[in-house]
Each structure stands twice: as structure tokens, then as C-alpha cells.
């Protein structure tokens, strides 16, 4: 795999996002909503709140934090292949000596970096706000090490899953909007599973967080391979095989 080609793809993708009003709008608006909602929820929790009340509030925050890496990357990733097909740029690219893997990794990296960066930045803002503004009972739960670890580990892994699914769908459909909607939808079942930890239905612990992260990583690797196989230049160029 050529690093130069992957870097070329990443640089081009990021330049395109920066000039795409829809991508910029979505990337700016959605995290803002996901930031305001949990803060309002968390600051309402009184010091006298019961354990279940605190867990529900914190669970909502954690879940919202995990929704960000699930819903943001598909906005970019789902456009990556079908968007190029629509604007007629895919064929010239495929006539260059770029490998499918280099193209896909470049596109995935270009979606991964801003999404995960944004998700971490918002989580950091939430953590800091909770630390200085929320009731002590809330701080204790939010700043619980396994909880933070799970959040930090799951964020990039969920984003990667979302990206691979987005790109995979993008190679098979013929409309950008369908790809974006399906990719978002595909991330939700996995999110449902991780929310069991967010709401402490399954008690979070360091081994559990690491174990689940490893399982997610395995899922991501498999997803990457599947997407690589789905990427069929002949089908993409001619629309048939």
C-alpha cells in the first residue's frame, strides 16, 4: 500500500468536505445538539438524586456521546463512492494506478479523522462541564474510570464501523441520500448494544470495556475486508456485472 496515494486521497477528500456546505452544516449542527441536550439533562440532577435517577441521566449523556461517532461519519463516508459515481469522477480515478485498498483506506481515514476528533472534543467539553458544574453524585458516575475508558475506546471503533458500513453501502447503491440514511441506520443496532453499558444495565468495568472494544475492533476489521470485496470497479463503472 502506497502512503503517498493514501495521503493524496485523504487530502482531496478533506478539501472537498471543507467546501461542501451540507457536510459542514451537519458536522457543526449535530454535535451542537448533542452537546446542549446532555448538559441540560445533567445540570438538572440534584445532589439528592437517587442512584437510578443519576444512572439514567448519565446513561443519556453517554449514549448521546456515542451517537456522534455513529451519525457523523456516514454523512461523509456514504458519499464517498456513490458521490464520485454521480459526478463522474470515479472512472478517471480508477484509471490511475491506485489500488482499491488505498482508495478505501484514504476515504475511510478522511471520514474518521474529523468525526472522531469532533466526538472527542465534545466529550471533553462534557467531561469538563460536569466536573465543574454538575452535582457530586453525577461527577462520581461520569468520571468513573471504566465509564470514561469505554467511551474513549468505543468512540473510534463505532466511528470505524459506521464508516465501513457507509462506504460499503455507498459501493452498492446509486443515490447519495439513500447511502447516508442506510449507513446511519446500520450503526444503530451496534449502538444499542453499547448503550447497555452506558445505562449500566451491564455494569461497566475495565476488562468489560476492553473486551467489548476488542470485539468491536474485530467487527471493524471484518467490515473493512467485506467492503474491500464489495468494491468492484467493473460494477461501479458499468452499473452491471
Amino acid at each position: 500500500m502506497s502512503g503517498q496515494r493514501v495521503r493524496a486521497v485523504v487530502r482531496k477528500e478533506i478539501r472537498e468536505f471543507r467546501r461542501n456546505h451540507f457536510v459542514i452544516g451537519t458536522m457543526a449542527l449535530l454535535p451542537l445538539i448533542f452537546l446542549i441536550t446532555p448538559l441540560l439533562t445533567i445540570f438538572k440532577v440534584p445532589e439528592s438524586a437517587s442512584g437510578p435517577q443519576v444512572r439514567a441521566a448519565v446513561g443519556t449523556i453517554s449514549l448521546l456521546m456515542l451517537i456522534i461517532p455513529v451519525v457523523l461519519p456516514p454523512v461523509i463516508a456514504a458519499y464517498s463512492v456513490v458521490g464520485e459515481r454521480e459526478q463522474g469522477t470515479l472512472e478517471p480515478v480508477l484509471t490511475t494506478p491506485v489500488r482499491a485498498s488505498e482508495l478505501l483506506v484514504g476515504k475511510a481515514a478522511a471520514a474518521f479523522l474529523p468525526s472522531v476528533g469532533l466526538a472527542y472534543a465534545i466529550y471533553l467539553v462534557v467531561l469538563t462541564s460536569v466536573r465543574f458544574g454538575a452535582a457530586h453524585v453525577v461527577v462520581d458516575v461520569v468520571w468513573h474510570t471504566p465509564q470514561v475508558l469505554a467511551q474513549l475506546l468505543f468512540t473510534p471503533l463505532l466511528a470505524l464501523w459506521s464508516i465501513w458500513v457507509g462506504i460499503g453501502i455507498s459501493t452498492r447503491v446509486s443515490d447519495v441520500r439513500v447511502a447516508q440514511q442506510l449507513a446511519t441506520l446500520a450503526g444503530l443496532p451496534l449502538l444499542g448494544f453499547t448503550s447497555l453499558i452506558s445505562f449500566q444495565i451491564i455494569k461497566p468495568s475495565v476488562p468489560l470495556a476492553v473486551g467489548l472494544a476488542l470485539a468491536l475492533l474485530a467487527v471493524d476489521v471484518v467490515a473493512g475486508r467485506v467492503v474491500s470485496r464489495l468494491f468492484d470497479p467493473e460494477r461501479l463503472v458499468t452499473g452491471r456485472r
Binding site: 493524496a8 451540507f22 437510578p52 454523512v75 478517471p92 463503472v237 452491471r240
Partner: protein, 415 residues
Amino acid sequence: MRSQRWFQRRRVGLGWRPASWQGWLITLLTVGALISVLALLRGSSARVPIAIVVFAAYAMVALASGGARPAEVTPAATEPSDGDEGLGGADQRKALRTLGSRSPEGTGLVVEHLTKRFGERMAVDDLSFRVAPGEVFGFLGPNGAGKTTTVRMLATLISPTSGSAVVAGVQLVPENGLEIRQQIAVMPENPGLYLRLTVAENLEYFAGLYGITDPKERILQALEAVNLAGRADDLCGNLSKGLRQRVGLARTLLNDPAIVFLDEPTSGLDPVASREVHELIDGLRDRGVTVFLTTHRLEEAERLCDRVAILNTSLRTVGRPSELRDRLFAKALVVRTAAPLSDPDRVFAVPGVESWRTDDTARYVLSVSDARSAAPQVTRALVAAGADLLSLAEDRHSLEDVYLELVDQDDEAHR
């Protein structure tokens, strides 16, 4: 066959609806997974907020993405914009030379029995031809004749059903795809530019894909070759169609290709812009680049191409335009006189004239074995007969006549 669509977008409301059984399956599985999660949460106070958050998140993205546009494409201006300079034949050839010249050794094309079938439909049938290194080769044929499919096969985008080819000295097999693509450049009919990127950014991306180590210098040279160095920082979306075509041509120069495939490079261009593209193709020929030109414009093929092939799923003919004319049409002289000749049989009884015919308007068409040797003798015979000669000319058939003759033959055969 058409591409699979699992979902269709609703005209009104949220997002999409299933369009096939796969779409329904995905929908059912997703709904099932969500219900399962909610069932697991039964008894938990988190159930309601989770359900609300999940569905709200989906609805938000569905609404947002439903309003998405594929790309904000500025329609190509039909009029040249400010600073839309012509290529300038001499300057442009000089600029092309700065890109270096190629040794024409072993850089041509050899195609043998190449066939492509899409399901039941035969797209290209048993195609065989050779293109010499440094040759400009025209590839003509009606819509759906298989021209683009052939180019895509040779560019390793699609695999042939059978047959073989050697592209720029490399055998056309899947494992050689990268090596072949390193040696060729393809410009499809739609130049395929990223409209939100500038001209230089577009070329920089492709230079990166070609693994060019010093892209800036190369990009500048390529832009100078198409006389666009002054427009490097313009967004491609703001360029006229002619300028976009030129950017596409500059892209084909980046990797110093042995073979350039040009698919309808002058489609939609005005005559001035077309002439500029022709000059660029001449410049490529001067550099020893093999040019594979797909076109509908027969006068363009006649003007530019050393040889042409006419395709209609299978190869109908291949050769120099003059050879094709000779092959299809008998050589003839057309004689016009002021008044009908009194005894044409006697006048045209000269060596080299095989037969004659007239349409009774003092216009005679003479079948000859060699027009150049027969013409002086016919002239002398007419003068000797006291005829008032208005004109005498070789009956020239254009490449268009050849093309139409062959396509008509195919149409009649299919009836």
C-alpha cells in the same frame, strides 16, 4: 440488467422506502434489532429515553440527508470566460515538448479476439487490431457499438470475457492492472473533475495517485501545455466546458503516458475549442505518444488519425482513411461540360477509363483504374472533341461516406 436499488427515496416525508426484497430484509432486521434492545431494557428507566434518542437521531439524519444534494455543480458556461485563451498551436507544442518526448519502442497496442459480453448482450465481439507506437488511431462507430467498452477493457476497468491484449508492452491480465495504468492515461467523455476543487488541486490529486514525486513542476508543465497556467487557482466548477476539457487533457499529461485514450474529446466544444484540442493531439503525436481517439466526428478522425477502425460490436474495417475509401468505392472522375456531348462513347474511349455514366445534365461519372493517369488523357480527349469543359475532378469520398456505407450495410443485414 440495471444496478441494484434496494431503497427509493420518498418524495415526501422521512428518508426512504424499500424497493426490493433486500430492502425489506434490511428494514426488518434493523427494526428487529431495535426491538430486541428495548426488550433487554425492559424494566429499566432508561428504556424510554433510549427509544426517544435513537429514533430522534435517526429522524434528524434522515431529514438532513433527505435534503442533501449530490454536488453543487455549476453548469458549464457555454461562452468562454475572461482569460479563456486559445491553446496557440506553436506555443502549446513548445510547452508539450517540455514534458519530454517518448521513445516509440514497444509502446503500442495489440488486441486479439477481444470479446465482452454483459449477460446475454454482446458488447464487443472478437475484436483484433494493432496500433503502432506513436500512432494516432481513430476508433469510430455508432452509439452502443462498443467503443467505450473497448477503452474500458484496455484501461483495465473491466475484464474481457475472452481474448487478449498487450497495452504499452504489458499483457492485459488482472495482475498487471497497476503496471498498465501507470503507462496510460484516459480522458472519458465527461472529464470528471472535482468541481469544488481548483484546477491545481484536481491535478495535484491525480499527481498523487500517479505517485509523482515533484508534482508542482509537473502540474505547471501540464497546465502550460494546455495554456491554463493562469487559471490554476480557479475552481473547476466555475470553468466553461471547453476549459474543463482542457483541464482533463492536462490531467492525461501528468504521468507522461505511453498511450492516451481520449473518448470524444471535442464533444460539446465550439469549433475554436475543438481546433485547440486537435492541436494538442498533434502535439502528443509529435512527442511520440500513442493516441487512441474515440470520436463521432468523422472529419476530426480524417484530419487527425493515421488510421481508423470502424466498430459496430465487431470490427467492420481498419486502415488509413484513403485505403478505406479505395476499398469501398470505385475510383471515379467527374466531368462537367457546358453542353451534353454528342458521342460520349467515342470521347471516353481512352486508356484507363473503364466505363462511364451520366445523369443527362452534361455531368459524366467515369470509372477509372487510376485517376491521376486517366485525368490528363480524358482532358485531351474532351478538348480534341471540341467540348466546352467546365470541370474535371476526382470523385472524392469522405470518411463519412465510408462510415455510412458500412453502418448501412450492417443495418440492412440486421433487417
